[in-house]
Symmetry: C2
């Protein structure tokens, strides 16, 4: 299977390269990396132009990431104008910044003219103000205006991600005129799947998919085949919201309009795929208590970014510890309690994180909403009770035998039932509540759920034990 | 902002519906759901045809999910041939099965003829063998052969997800001939963005994007503008692998070929977006210890699917408890240890899960590979040491003051340092190791990492305490 996959990659770019740059596990082949490294050291331009410059942008990006930091910069400088700047959109932000900082602004300006505007913006937006202005100043007027317009839109907005090159025609043109225009016009975008219909003020009137044009007779007017239903996306719209429209309506591209409904750009599915990917990744990272860190971040950066979450958890941990300290006397008498109490808290934590994971994800995909919230809460409560009984009995029997004490078995069984029920209810209600008040459930649910399961677990187990053993 | 978003949805389907079916939070509007419910109860076909049947498939899917189970079936039966079966590809599997089971096979067969083959397969693949065969038997011959071919490919393969409708032309045709063919041919796919070039045996020769055709003069031969670089995807290839090719090379669609390199279908980006979405979701669910469950699953199903993970965690919990039991004597003497020990284990667990989340995600996106593994391991070890010192000191001071005992402060500080270092190393090495031996790091990393942090935490803290206090 993997071999077939590799074959494809080889055949895939006969005009770009015959290199098979990937090993079986999808990483850059070690010997290829070594050859490139040697060529960089030898300043072997012939090899680099033939085997590196011709790689697909994403392959080149992977290669750059696999190289040593100083090799990366040397490679880009050696290739000069032969280096496809698009590859930089495929690498970690830290690596991109490091390379761009070492490139002369003139080289960036020369290269950026060849890029699609969305790729150009992607590289420009990370630069500091001064460098960015210097580069923009070296670009032709129309190009500069376009890029500046995209850069003026807020970060993570549709306007930032859009491509400002598009094909637009007036409604009274015929299909024949439109095709002739496309045959003659030099400045068309590199690829496109639909064309837009606009009035003289650039106001968006409709959209025509290319297959529609190809099926239609030459004399037919564009306005008769255009669809008004083009999901125009306001440039200010958050990219995540735009991505949801793409997903919901299976769009390949969509017009981006300004506040006056004038066409300013086009958002394409390949950028949206990246957004979808990032959003799913964000939820996962947040649930795991990490932010936007990247693999190329330094120890200091990483450490600092992870400390806040650990600090919040520390509060929870001390809260739980103070619950335990209420029962010091009981523990001193029956040390078995100290041995067993982490089981009650830990299993509750696991059950709670199961429920929480499902809830957070369902909220993110909008599968969980007011129509089924109550039903899902009841289901989770039911699951909590059922699994609480299963594990209560199981742990109760084991603990009873371990400490030869049927009382301890009964106490831990009851505590388990209580805590797994609490875990389930907290696992669903906390994300729902956070979502309701407008907070991101992925960021903060875990801390609250752990707090509930730790405190309930210790309190139920130690409390029950204290009550039972003072009674008898 | 949300209002703007709603405006779009309204304007988006003027020919389909003027309904604004979504509330601000993205869920189906409650009053719309109530109106639909009333119309179903009154068998008000006029309302249903006008306001429900015309919804976009994904809106209809959302509406179905928001209805009561009996309302769902009543709606589909009432609408009959007016019901767009594609909407069923947008709902939970359990809901889809429930509806399909209540539909007469004849109605399904009639409706499936109108679907794209990939949607048809999506619905057919969940049915039991008998129903599926009965429905297939009622379809026209070519349709039946196509669907059966797709269904014969393994689940989650590219062949299962492909669309069997495509446009293919011989290499010696001119652009003009090709356009004329598309103008006259009735049986073209509903939408397409590229056409394929094949020889008389259906062997794939190349691909031409539609924009390329539109830019080219009529007399030019197709073979001169086709690209050989079409990333043909073997039908047997896993859909996840295919999705990676789409992502890497920003494909909109790709040819699917059989073992003889004959064109059998086309995989499109909208299906791939779903795969990407599912894969990211899978990792998140697995890290959280839940499987492929859906919100519509019953309490029993959910409970059963979650028990295995809890059982494995139970083993870990007892292992940790048995470590504590080694130090019963020390705990009996100094109960403060029982109070503080969950802090050491818990904070280690949190730090470990941070590292693990980053590692699992980076492995899934192939950002972490042999070229940077060693660097990332060193970074994580460094972060573990640094944060271990930060939190060691912090917790040591608090604990020292709390129990008025500088010894306890020193002991917990040292234990924290040890455990956070162990957590970091386990958090990166365990996923790497699991990946190396071919296991899915998302499924099993959490259990192992927790085992390490619990056991190390308890052992380091209680062990150090025992050693220190026996010494003094």
């Amino acid at each position: 299977m993997t071999e077939t996959g590799e074959d494809i990659l080889v055949r895939a770019h006969p005009e770009e390269s015959q290199e098979d740059v990937y090993a079986e596990d999808g990483s850059i082949r070690t010997d290829f990396r070594a050859m490139v490294g040697a060529a960089i050291a030898d300043r072997d331009l012939l090899f680099l132009r033939q085997h590196v410059a011709r790689l697909h942008e994403s392959e080149l990006g992977d290669l750059i990431e696999a190289l040593q930091p100083d090799q990366r910069i040397a490679l880009v400088l050696l290739l000069g104008d032969d280096f496809d700047l698009t590859a930089l959109t495929e690498v970690d932000e830290a690596i991109r910044l490091q390379i761009v900082e070492h490139l002369p602004n003139a080289q960036i300006a020369a290269a950026i003219g060849d890029l699609d505007s969305d790729d150009a913006v992607y590289i420009l937006e990370d630069l500091d103000h001064e460098d960015r202005e210097e580069i923009l100043a070296q670009l032709p007027f129309t190009e500069r205006v376009r890029l500046r317009r995209a850069l003026d839109y807020p970060e993570s907005s549709a306007g930032r991600r859009m491509q400002t090159e598009f094909v637009a025609v007036p409604p009274f043109w015929t299909v024949g005129q439109t095709i002739d225009y496309m045959r003659d016009e030099e400045g068309l975008p590199e690829t496109f799947t639909q064309i837009f219909v606009i009035d003289p003020t650039f106001k968006l009137l409709g959209t025509v998919d290319l297959d529609r044009i190809l099926r239609t007779k030459r004399q037919v007017k564009i306005e008769t085949i255009m669809r008004e239903t083009s999901h125009p996306i306001p440039a200010e719209m958050d990219q995540e919201e735009a991505a949801q429209l793409f997903e919901q309506y299976d769009l390949l591209s969509a017009a981006v309009v300004d506040e006056n409904e004038r066409l300013v750009g086009v958002l394409t599915i390949d950028d949206v795929v990246d957004v979808i990917q990032e959003e799913a990744e964000e939820d996962l990272m947040r649930l795991g208590g990490v932010g936007d860190e990247e693999l190329s971040d330094s120890i200091r950066e990483t450490s600092r970014s992870r400390i806040p979450w650990l600090l919040v958890n520390l509060l929870t941990a001390f809260l739980a510890a103070s619950v335990i300290s209420l029962f010091e006397a009981t523990i001193q008498e029956i040390v078995a309690l100290a041995v067993l109490m982490p089981i009650v808290a830990g299993m509750g934590g696991n059950a709670g994180s199961q429920t929480m994971t499902v809830s957070v994800r369902a909220l993110a995909t909008r599968d969980l909403d007011i129509h089924n919230a109550w039903r899902v809460v009841r289901r989770e409560a039911g699951v909590g009770l059922l699994n609480g009984m299963v594990f209560g009995v199981l742990i109760g029997v084991i603990a009873g035998f371990w400490f030869h004490d049927v009382n301890i078995g009964g106490i831990i069984a009851t505590a388990m039932l209580i805590n797994m029920f609490a875990a389930a209810v907290a696992g669903i209600l906390i994300p729902l509540l956070l979502d309701k008040v407008g907070a991101d459930p992925a960021v903060s649910s875990a801390v609250f759920v752990t707090a509930v399961t730790d405190i309930t677990g210790f309190f139920a187990f130690l409390g029950l034990a204290t009550w039972w053993f003072t009674l008898h």
